[in-house]
Subunit: 288 residues, 2 copies
């Protein structure tokens, strides 16, 4: 059983609407909030050798990335800490607070518990003008599809290209980019943390159209042999860039860096260089 | 090291304001929201023999209880599940959704992760008229101090009085009571999940006054020998009642059941029958 199979159970019990986007959207009075929660723990989510400060940073960064993927500005973070060693707490919190503050958010609450392995659950609330919310659905044939940043760097670091260690240990959520893309009118968006291929398939699930991208258009981690670099960029996980579709006419003066990698098509398929793209990437496997 | 010592580290890094109340209070446009997060896991939080459905219920109930303690109406729940066995997921979610819906909230999002022991982190958002927010601070000498429900039932169940099993396995958060007390003008409030004594000491920390209660006024779990019943009610943990102070003149027609157990005094002390009350109850202990 894998994550995506378990998700069908969630949809059965909790409903469909709750599972398609990076965040839930709630209307609070006149204002729109997006909320999301992410659980990370030592044995499956934190790369070997990560420091406590970096673990705290990462827990907040994944949540900020989900908020950015909706076009929202992160504002409030809650951090639940399942603590393996009391002496780790201070550095974890310092990392969390510093990541939140760097991107305009505050850590406003949390919980503490003793745990056999370090477990961090961050919950984030972002605010957004309802007109600027971007969901996973909304793509239209004729839109271009683009990404922010260079995918594959985290995966490259994971297999030993230490020059990309920052991408793995101190990821930078694309907060400014997400807000700008929401205002610019991106039609669909999500973050690419499970890898570019699986993210495109997630967009396929959420839309009535398809996506056609080209290997040669995808930016690659530099100074890595071409075959490996392409593997990392297309199928590697752990990156914090945003994948989005947008009508090409809106890509004017949006003030952020991005790379167009293909187009939205009417066929219900994900194509790489014209052929169906292999559906593989980062997926948790479950026993039992 | 215990929970309360670790809290001083949290206050050092994240600031004081974030740690005194059951929830963080945030202003969202014209509306006021309270948010809180709670981490529960198998080895330290779930009583032996709990079912998956009950674990899901309990995870949401602790969060609803924190929201109720601020006088707010719970609206949105996020549930992060660190899952030991994939086959447990459905029942856990059913318990969570049913607890949320019973008290007027919806499960709007969450996360899934594989974990060696079942770990549930629920985050809740409640809404409240700013004039009805009740914090831990705000008590004044001359207020009465009162509780909802009968404390000690969960502790009694834990040591084998099976007639109170529901209090332990399917706790009922005092949601209606919290909302009513917020509207009625309670001056300070919190839930008593760490036990009555420790909760009174928490109120002492948050206020410039003290609290004087009387054993004979505290309602006791019935059909339990008196000495034991008093021990459970004063020092036992796991109950979901609310402890609050309120000017006695406001205790008219508030439409809920409560028991006055003492008064707020100007001395900076917690007194039981006129003597300092032992400061003991449910505290996590940490190694290292």
């Amino acid at each position: 059983m894998d994550d995506r199979e378990l998700l069908t159970i969630v949809r059965e019990v909790a409903g469909d609407a709750q599972t398609f986007d990076d965040c839930a959207v709630i209307q609070l009075g006149s204002c729109c909030a997006v909320i999301t929660t992410d659980m990370l723990h030592a044995s499956t989510d934190f790369p070997r050798g990560i420091t406590c400060r970096q673990a705290g940073w990462m827990a907040v960064a994944v949540t900020l990335s989900d908020i950015a993927a909706m076009g929202a500005a992160p504002r409030y973070i809650l951090l639940a800490v399942g603590l393996d060693q009391p002496r780790h707490l201070k550095k974890i919190l310092e990392g969390a607070v510093s990541c939140a503050e760097r991107f305009g958010a505050s850590v406003v609450g949390g919980d503490l518990d003793a745990h056999t392995e370090l477990t961090l659950v961050s919950t984030g609330i972002g605010l957004v003008d309802p007109r600027s919310i971007v969901r996973r659905s909304g793509a239209n044939p004729g839109d271009v599809i683009a990404i922010t940043g260079t995918p594959g760097r985290a995966q490259a670091a994971l297999v030993g290209y230490t020059q990309f260690a920052c991408a793995l240990y101190e990821p930078i959520p694309a907060v400014m980019e997400g807000i700008a893309l929401g205002k610019a009118g991106a039609s669909a968006m999500m973050d690419v943390s499970d890898g570019l291929a699986l993210s495109l398939y997630d967009l396929l699930d959420a839309n009535d159209c398809g996506f056609s991208i080209y290997t040669a258009m995808v930016p690659l981690p530099p100074e890595v042999p071409l075959d490996e670099a392409r593997e990392f960029a297309l199928y590697g996980g752990g990156d914090f860039g945003l994948l989005f579709s947008i009508p090409p006419g809106l890509l004017v003066d949006i003030g952020i860096s991005y790379t167009v990698i293909g187009t939205v098509i009417s066929d219900r398929a994900v194509l790489l260089d014209g052929d169906p793209m292999p559906k593989r990437g980062y997926v948790h496997q479950w026993n039992g």
